[in-house]
Amino acid sequence: MREKTNVDIEAINFLYQRYKEYLLPCLVIFTCILLFLIVIIPQIQDLISISKQREIEFKKLELLKNNLATLISINSSVLDSQFAVVSSALPPNKDFAGIITGVSAAAQRAGVGLNDFEFQVGDLREISASSMEYPFLTTKLNIQSSYQQSANFITELFKSFPLAEIVDVSLSGRSTEVSVVFYYKPMPEIEVDNYKPVKILTKENLDLINELLTWNSNPVINVPLPSSSTSSGSTSPF
């Protein structure tokens, strides 16, 4: 008796034999199309995205190179003196010695007699450097002077370090009482981001420093820098 055969297999076999010469090329073309759609097109998209990323990275590299060139071009001693001047103008803490020196020098330059100082120490809490407010130390000064000399003293005090602001003035006969606040501000937390352009001093800033330098007859104070954090994850050089 004849063995049972599957008609479907026979039919498929027959069809395969009959269309074999078309079937293989069709299969190859279909596979190629599939490969193109599934593998090659995504790869092309990846390449386009990598190319864009490359442009961005190139720009970052250029920025880093510019930052390096800028930092190399800055004269260290000039920078140190600028740093010292701004730190004297706005010290990081209550600078009693600086205030006394500044007031005495202003009195000397204006030719007035300084009677007594009165410091109001004020709040002793730590003040945040990020605060927009400027902490200050209030001082009352009594001077022996004419009105004109008092004006001269105020002008001189205006140009002394730390930066002072006259709150009120009371002139009576040859005695003048001046309420002054001396500003200070804690050092800001330094966050160095290598991928941001180094901000060099503008012309206005340089003019301001030069103006401060002309005022700066007092010895500058040496202020240590706070530790800095860096976004590139490198170690601090301080």
Binding site: C26, I40, Q43, I50, R54, Y147, V169, L171
Partner: protein, 178 residues
């Protein structure tokens, strides 16, 4: 003989058609394989050339150099921040010295200043004179200052008094500063 019943001829035509189709398919499949291989090869070469790794290596090299100059960078940041603060403080400081310089010439001769109190908003001035005419000149001068908006914007007379022992008239004025 009719063409439609000529089986031999028909078979030949079909064979030719099938052969052409088969040839075309084979050619297409070969071209497809070649295209896929070529594209893959080009993509491989491009992906090797467009690698981000060399740029990252160069970036790290520059960052390492920058790290040696971190101190300078930090100082520059502090200087910029401090200068912004200094500039703001300097802008808001009132100039009492120039206020005094503006007021003093307005005091006529024969009028003695007894006290002058200057604040950010107001000023109070007390003067003495043995002549009412001088006191009048003083008031006129200050009224003119208020009118021309020079340092003050209004003027309030506090009162005129007479000290019988010295014969001096005293006047106190208050003004709101601009």
């Amino acid at each position: 003989m009719k063409n439609d019943i000529n089986l031999l001829l028909r078979t030949k035509t079909d064979q030719t058609k099938k052969s052409k189709l088969s040839h075309l398919l084979r050619l297409t499949s070969v071209v497809s394989i070649a295209a896929v291989l070529l594209t893959s090869f080009i993509l491989y070469i491009l992906s090797r050339q467009l690698s981000l790794e060399p740029i990252k290596v160069r970036q790290n090299a520059v960052i390492n150099n920058i790290n040696f100059l971190k101190n300078k960078q930090a100082k520059l940041i502090v200087i910029n921040a401090k200068l912004d603060d200094v500039s703001q403080i300097m802008t808001k400081r009132p100039r009492f010295d120039s206020d005094i310089q503006t007021i003093l010439p307005k005091v006529p001769s024969g009028v003695a200043s007894r006290s002058l109190t200057l604040g950010k908003q107001r000023l109070t001035f007390r003067v003495e004179s043995n002549s009412l005419k001088n006191i009048n000149d003083f008031i006129n001068n200050f009224a003119q200052m208020a009118k021309s908006k020079s340092l003050i914007k209004d003027l309030t007379l506090g009162g005129i008094g007479l000290d019988p022992t010295s014969g001096n008239y005293s006047l106190s004025v208050e003004a709101e500063k601009l």
